[in-house]
């Protein structure tokens, strides 16, 4: 790979696992993320997330200094946890580690367990995700936080918080546990929720970034913690789940784990974008609930087929380069493949063979590799790709993370039939721009 030769990332596509874990925790209701590291670890992430979501982002730091870095930072961690609880009274404190605290080899999980064991007062749920910044990327951190939350909730070994709360076994509405990839926009989450509602399923979305970060204004005004999201009570409903729904190529590795932890039947979809994948998704819902696919979605399905026809002319003879995280790369390339687009280059932070066939060239790397794609007609990537789009004079469809120079992507969605319409027409219009 070119990266091995140059030995340096130029305009990285990759972000860190600590950021991924932080985003996961932001999908919990009344939550705060506590980043265990130097002040910069929290500050950099907070700045980017605030610009990306255009929302207040509750990330705080343990503010490790020289002595903490060298002699051990447990004091910083514990006083950080206490201060956050004092000041903000959150339901969840998501503790995330960093390259700094992991390099010094601290037993952070141990500190937290000790702290919990000594608690005899009601306290926030402390969830710890070990996210050394030199190992893996955004998706790995997101998954680490996900599995950590599930383990805490379901195993009940360490978590005092759930000790005295027996899960509610009385069934009201059939609930389903839904695990979505970190690439979903807040609107994607909301669309998925709506689709499940149509089938009479109560979705427990883990985490629910649709409720927390979609951007909504209400009487509460400014809040110090996440305004909404997956709540403490919702967690108990995981027991009541009828089945698990796992979406996302990056989440494939969690399927077995989640199945074992929950003891529930688990269905997995690499993505739910485009005609075929949406069909599979709706067919499953119809089959498991015994309900017919709602008219609304049948209509959307036929609209998608029509939109594909309208849009496909603009794709013919054109070439596209995509630089996206693995989930979005998979989702978007599914739609583009259906419409017959030529995918000249795919860049991601890691390569999964399952999707190789859709691309002329698929590689692992940084945004700088866009320089190697020659004359494509459209680039699909995040805001940082504008260096290349501008210098090469190629239109850029902004997607992924981060998007910091335009508003509204919180409300865009690319999943299911309507999402595919959005992607097909947005792309066609951009390709048609001379």
């Amino acid at each position: 790979m070119a990266n091995l030769i140059k030995n340096i990332e130029i305009n990285p596509l990759k972000t860190s696992p600590s950021l991924g874990a932080a985003v996961f925790f932001l999908g919990l209701k009344n939550a705060v993320v506590l980043m265990h590291g130097a002040v910069g670890c929290a500050s950099f992430d907070k700045v980017t997330l605030t610009k990306h979501f255009r929302e207040n982002i509750p990330i705080v730091t343990t503010a490790l200094n020289e002595s903490g870095a060298i002699l051990g930072g447990s004091n910083f961690l514990i006083s950080g946890i206490k201060n956050v609880y004092e000041k903000m009274k959150p339901d969840f404190i998501g503790v995330v580690s960093s390259g700094l605290t992991e390099t010094s080899g601290e037993d952070i999980a141990g500190f937290i367990k000790d702290f919990k064991d000594r608690l005899d007062i009601p306290f926030a749920n402390l969830i710890y995700a070990g996210t050394p910044d030199y190992k893996g990327g955004f998706e790995e951190g997101y998954i680490a936080a996900m599995l950590s939350l599930l383990t805490e909730t379901l195993k009940n070994e360490t978590g005092k918080s759930f000790k005295n709360q027996k899960p509610d076994k009385i069934k009201r509405q059939t609930s389903v546990n839904v695990f979505c990839p970190s690439s979903f926009t807040p609107q994607d989450f909301l669309e998925l929720r709506e689709a499940l509602d149509y089938f009479g399923l109560k979705p427990i979305i883990i985490p629910d970034l649709g409720l927390s970060l979609d951007g909504h204004l209400d009487k509460r005004g400014y809040l110090q913690t996440t305004p909404d999201g997956l709540g403490v009570k919702d967690l108990l409903d995981i027991y009541n789940g009828e089945f698990n729904l796992i979406i996302g190529l990056s989440l494939k590795v969690t399927v077995k784990n989640i199945e074992e932890l929950t003891g529930l039947r688990t269905y997995y979809f690499p993505n739910i974008c485009g005609l075929k994948n949406s069909d599979k998704f709706f067919n499953l819902l119809s089959k498991t609930t015994g309900k017919k696919i709602p008219e609304k979605y049948k209509r959307q399905r036929s609209q998608l087929m029509d939109a594909y026809l309208d849009a496909h002319f603009y794709f013919s003879g054109k070439e596209i380069a995509l630089a996206l995280g693995i989930d979005l790369l998979d989702s978007f390339s599914s739609v583009y493949s259906e419409i017959g687009a030529n995918l000249k280059l795919g860049i991601s932070t890691k390569i999964i063979d399952d999707i190789k066939y859709r691309f002329i060239n698929l590689c692992e790397g940084d945004l700088d590799m866009l320089n190697t794609c020659g004359n494509v007609d459209m680039i699909v990537s995040n805001s940082n790709a504008k260096f290349y789009a501008e210098s090469l004079g190629i239109p850029l469809l902004k997607a992924g993370f981060p998007i910091i120079d335009e508003v509204g992507h919180n409300f865009k969605h690319y999943i299911l039939y309507r999402g595919a319409v959005n992607l097909a027409v947005e792309s066609a219009n951009l390709l048609n721009k001379e």
Partner: protein
């Protein structure tokens, strides 16, 4: 390997915190569990990255650069394509175990060959500082090989905050760049000065330079907005350093005074009154009578022109109330600009201000009513704004959503600001922005609808 920040950084003869017990030299500590500003790396990167023919390599795992780059708004004329690029060695587990000095060397060699920059800054960060990588050695070796300055920047985040990072960057420039070259004679004007701590956000430097040029003052070097490595190398040839809105880079000015005998003054170009004062202070420091006369004439004309241009806005804004929450020097320098517009500052943030800054605030506080806000907690901010019926909050981006979610008009006056607010043109932009924001009917609509 340099793990701890130099003691010298905390020895600031001109700072009133100087000489207090070590724990209390605590411009460098933060409370665990709070949301604070950036780290030393952040501060160093802010200072050095606007140099338009140098590139910046962050030697770190992916988070230090990957999570947050390409977000500065420093402008440059004919900057090289790479100057705003993000470069990182993206250290992985193997690099931690086996060391990554070779990786760093290869990385530097690759970017040198491909981009041919005039200088490379290599930032040390927490992880390589802990594992003890010799980035100083690597830099030295490759400086000799490529014959361009390859500068190690010891900006590991655990050493301290953004402010400290500014100093570290200043030190790196002082040690490796400044004084390394003489300017060709064409570049020198009759009166040459440097601007220190001006990053040309949204083109603010251009407005300052324009004013100074009209009077006949040549800005020889800017540290570092729209600058080149060469320009900073010969900055020692100026006769005056003007430190702009930056306590941290007074450190650099002081070092330059010690070594090259260049005097320095601290000025602000926010608002008409401040700009006038800065211009007068500069020409007085230079001490040329002809220049002083010219400056006075110029100020007279510009004041009249500007007052005419802002008249309409001022009429609307007079008596309206502003809550100002921004760092250090801007806690007073902006008050002056707001007073120019007839606005009343009801409170200003002093969390990062020195006693000297606070004295300056009092100078502008005619009625002695300005609340000094020590507590940057967003909840407190909103409370003060509501209690005092502030018409607008002026602060940095991190408080944007605090304000607008509470349906209080807001303007970003930190690095994300939308337009240049310096010098005579700047006050017009500022007036227009505040006017449009306060006048916007949206806030009323939403208050009724919520």
């Amino acid at each position: 390997m340099r793990l701890a920040a130099k003691e010298e950084y905390f020895d600031e003869p001109t700072c009133e915190h100087n000489g207090v017990a070590k724990e209390k030299k605590a411009c460098k500590t933060a409370t665990p569990g709070s949301s604070t500003g950036g780290c030393a790396l952040d501060g160093a990167y802010i200072v050095l990255s606007p140099i338009k023919d140098a590139l910046n390599i962050v030697h770190a795992p992916i988070n230090c650069l990957g999570n947050s780059y390409n977000q500065r708004t420093s402008k440059a004329i004919s900057g090289k394509e790479y100057y705003m690029y993000g470069f990182t060695t993206a250290m992985n587990e193997n690099d931690l175990i086996f060391g990554s000095e070779d990786k760093l060397k290869h990385g530097i060699t690759y970017v040198y060959n491909r981009f041919k920059p005039q200088g490379i800054f290599v930032y040390n960060t927490c992880v390589p500082a802990l594992t003890g990588e010799d980035i100083e050695g690597v830099s030295k070796e490759l400086t000799a090989k490529f014959k361009i300055p390859i500068v190690p920047v010891f900006s590991q985040g655990f050493s301290g905050n953004k402010n400290l990072g500014n100093k570290i960057a200043g030190d790196a420039l002082f040690t490796h760049i400044i004084g390394k070259k003489e300017p060709v004679i064409d570049l020198l004007g009759d009166f040459n000065i440097n601007l220190i701590g001006e990053y040309n956000i949204k083109g603010e430097l251009f407005l300052i330079k324009k004013a100074l040029k009209t009077i006949g003052i040549n800005v020889l070097s800017t540290i570092t907005g729209d600058s080149t490595i060469e320009e900073i190398m010969y900055s020692h040839k100026s006769e005056l350093n003007v430190v702009i809105c930056s306590k941290a880079l007074v450190y650099l000015a002081r070092k330059m005074k010690e070594k090259f005998g260049i005097p320095y003054i601290e000025e602000s170009f926010f608002g008409m009154t401040s700009t006038n004062r800065a211009v007068i202070d500069i020409v007085n420091s230079i001490g040329n009578m002809k220049l002083i006369r010219k400056a006075k004439d110029y100020i007279k004309i510009m004041t009249k022109n500007t007052e005419e241009k802002i008249y309409g806005y001022k009429k609307f804004l007079t008596g309206r109330k502003v809550l100002l929450f921004t760092g250090g020097v801007k806690s007073w320098s902006l008050i002056s600009a707001l007073n120019d517009l007839g606005l009343r500052v009801i409170a200003t943030g002093v969390k990062k201000s020195t006693d000297e800054d606070k004295l300056r605030i009092k100078e502008f506080d005619e009625n002695g009513n300005i609340i000094m806000l020590d507590n940057g907690n967003p909840v407190n901010l909103i409370k003060i704004a509501k209690e005092n019926e502030a018409d607008i909050i002026l602060a940095g981006g991190r408080n944007q959503y605090t304000a607008i979610k509470s349906l209080i008009p807001f303007l970003d006056v930190n690095q994300e600001r939308l337009e240049p607010y310096t010098a005579y043109e700047g006050i017009e932009f500022l007036a227009k922005r505040i006017y449009s924001e306060i006048k916007n009917p949206l806030f009323k609509l939403l208050k009724e609808s919520i």
